[in-house]
Symmetry: C2
Subunit: 210 residues, 2 copies
């Protein structure tokens, strides 16, 4: 909800006929505009101003809601997969294959152009700014880590999930951001084979038992 002082931030006569104070659609309109621009123009060419213009609100309102472009990016990002559905696919079935199924899921997402640009974008935003890092942490905790911890067959499931996150973040940074060789030029199936035993260790093999 906005207070009355925020009403001035809504530009009179802007697109969509201007948004009223307390209009619950305002924040969503900003996020929609941000999503479209980040995906079509890319991160660098999208600005707080260009998003505000498309959403028909004052730039200050975007700042009021989100604080920075990194934070707006994180808020606008939708996870490129359904965590609940993916989880049951990974954790169902033979426990000795869990690491391999999770490695296939992760590498599959990172080799898909749309999904990987969102995931790598989140990692970059988190690394750039502590506010965005907190938002990424909140997003991943809420959408992936907490639901996953409820399903993971470990005595310390939340810790096991943190260690899976460590593996994914390390893979993103080493293979896709820094491009460490020879990892960066391995074919995807080889990366699955490299990651599977590490994921099996942290998720299933009692690695995090006290």
């Amino acid at each position: 909800m906005m207070n009355s002082a925020d009403a001035e931030l809504i530009r009179p006569g802007a697109r969509r006929g201007g948004r009223r104070p307390g209009d619950s659609g305002t924040r969503e309109a900003v996020l929609e505009a941000a999503r479209r621009q980040f995906s079509q123009l890319g991160y660098d060419r999208t600005t707080m101003r260009s998003v505000a213009t498309e959403a028909g609100v004052d730039q200050k309102l975007v700042g009021y809601f989100f604080g920075s472009k990194h934070a707006l990016f994180v808020a606008a990002t939708r996870l490129p997969f359904d965590p609940a559905g993916s989880m049951s696919g990974v954790l169902g079935g033979d426990p000795s294959g869990t690491g391999k199924r999770l490695a296939r899921l992760i590498v599959g997402l990172l080799e898909d152009p749309v999904a990987s640009s969102r995931i790598i974008g989140l990692v970059r935003a988190a690394a750039a700014e502590s506010r965005a890092a907190r938002m990424v942490c909140d997003l991943l905790t809420r959408e992936i880590w907490r639901p996953a911890a409820a399903e993971v067959p470990s005595e310390r499931p939340a810790l096991a999930v943190s260690l899976v996150a460590t593996q994914v973040l390390g893979l993103v940074m080493a293979r896709y951001v820094i491009r460490a060789e020879p990892l960066a030029s391995q074919p995807p199936e080889a990366v699955v084979d490299l990651m599977a035993p590490l994921l099996q260790m942290v998720l299933v093999s009692g690695h995090t038992q006290p």
Copy 2:
């Protein structure tokens, strides 16, 4: 070496009496000023301009040498440990303890305020910009990965070293940047115990054999 067009970039009458074209100390003077400012003022308050002023050169020359603040930061960063000495300490001794010794070294560096600010700074710079990412990759390849690969008892030592890098980058991102819980609040010795079997697996246990 600079060409003659670069000579104009050196500000006449600047500190140290101005630097001459081809002065091999110019680049080093910029790096020295950058090192001092990044460590004493922090990343945000250090600018290409403030570094140029302290080094007594035109800001354009700093741009010519380094391209961006991220890249200047990477070039100015000295690794906070001696890779060769550290490596022999880790790889010497009982092979069954290699993962633990490496985990102690890595966590020790990341828990040390000076060393960790340099390591986390490199990771942040790499995530922020592809040019800085390439420079971080070159730095790590030259200073750590290539010498380490010569010593690692694996059939595919370079790949094993890439996977160690994956573990370190993941730990930096998950524990120190995104601060994923409960990993972020584990005591250092617990993190050593969590990382040791992962490092043992990638470095010693035949994980990367074809």
